[in-house]
């Protein structure tokens, strides 16, 4: 018999929920992923003036919201490896916290999504999804209704991340250049 690919339907109970969120990496985890060779991360205090915020917007085309952006300096036994940034971007449906690693020369070394939230009104409760983990060697099954975001639909563009990184590059050039 020829097997037809299938979406498996099952009864679901719906309830209303505002946000779906998936947390991928903590700050420390993102640091380890993006700068695996680093031994220390020291917080770099940066306070942006109104003029600097304006200049960043002008040069990058994107508004810099935070006056005190969270930035860390990554080092390996005194050797400067690069800057580690935690930043947020807001899209039509999604609110994303991401981490970016940028070399001292202003080269993007890597980007990791730390947290992804989608806002909408409908949600599902799916007992069978939960049941499949019962008695199995799964230490951390999903917190159902909170962090499964497998949504098929018109593809969301990741342009707001691209714009966000552009903004960080301008910020680095402006206030962190050594």
């Amino acid at each position: 018999m020829r097997h037809t690919p299938a979406l498996i339907m099952m009864p679901v109970a719906a309830f209303v929920c505002q946000v779906q969120a998936a947390d991928y990496l903590s700050t420390a985890e993102a640091q380890a992923v993006l700068f695996p060779q680093a031994s220390t991360f020291s917080r770099q205090e940066v306070v942006l003036t109104k003029e600097q915020l304006k200049a960043i917007k002008k040069a990058s085309g994107v508004r810099q919201r935070k006056t005190m952006p969270p930035i860390w300096r990554a080092e390996r036994e005194g050797e400067f490896l690069g800057w580690f940034y935690v930043d947020d971007v807001i899209g039509k449906h999604e609110f994303i916290t991401y981490a970016a690693a940028i070399s001292p020369e202003g080269e993007v070394r890597g980007i990791e999504i730390m947290s992804y939230r989608e806002t909408h009104g409908d949600e599902v409760r799916n007992q069978q999804w939960r049941d499949q983990f019962v008695g199995k060697k799964v230490d951390a099954p999903f917190k159902l209704n909170e962090d499964i975001i497998n949504i098929s639909g018109a593809t969301l563009s990741c342009r707001n991340i691209t714009d966000g990184v552009k903004r960080l590059l301008v910020l680095q050039e402006m206030v962190l250049k050594e």
Partner: protein, 290 residues
Amino acid sequence: MITRRMKPLLGTYVEIAINAENEEQEQLLSTAFEAIEKIHRLLSFQARESELSQLNLAAGIALTMDPLSIRCLRLAFAMMKASRQYFNCTIAGSLVRRGVLPDHGFGNYLEAGNVDDIVISGKRVHLARPVLLVLDGIAKGYAVDHAIKILMAAGIRSGWVNAGGDIRAFGELRVPILLRQGGGAPVYAGDLQNAAVATSSARSELDARYQGLLVNTEGRPIDEGQWTVVARSAWRADALTKVAATAPRDEAEQLVARLGGTLVSKTSGIQAANGESAQIENLNQSQNGC
């Protein structure tokens, strides 16, 4: 335990989740992301230095291409042929002319071509006429399949990859899928198990938040709508959404089925979300089927 990561790739957000038994297996997430990044580098139309762009710029001269590029081109070629060109990857010219895709200095080009314009011979490829290829209609799904192939070969038994809504689940996991219609709230559409789902949308106006524009086989924009297809592999589900979008409405469902997919929704979305009408078969699929 389930380990997941997400990165901005392929112009969208890519999530990889695996049921990893140890830390060594967790490292495979990076390997899988690197594989997707490689496909992105090879097959991006937007990047001038990609192999695809080099082929589009080669003015008919044959190029030796990476086996990953060749495989994707072969799949695209086969799907063009089998779908009577309702799937057509030679329509990039019409998208460049409309400003949807960048002009890398192509000079004169045709807005759309046909399957005979793509000539693959071993590892070498050339274009018989000055058409421009774009693999956006298939490459996201292809990247998903490739990542899963690598994960399975390395011993990962279950997980999923979601590239901006092109989702494939493998192994014993049943992964709940939500469908978003236009700007509306996503609704539960069913669970995915050893299968892939993809959705394509056509909009009446270009929207910076979403990518691209769906055009028909002659390169003309098609009517607004949304199409979701389930198939064994993600490349096929991805490509078949374009077949569903461009084929005559009364033929689409049958054509998609003949080509190995199931059309889940047409314009108004999935009937199954709120009723009994779409009790789709509960069957496991072969894991490596393409």
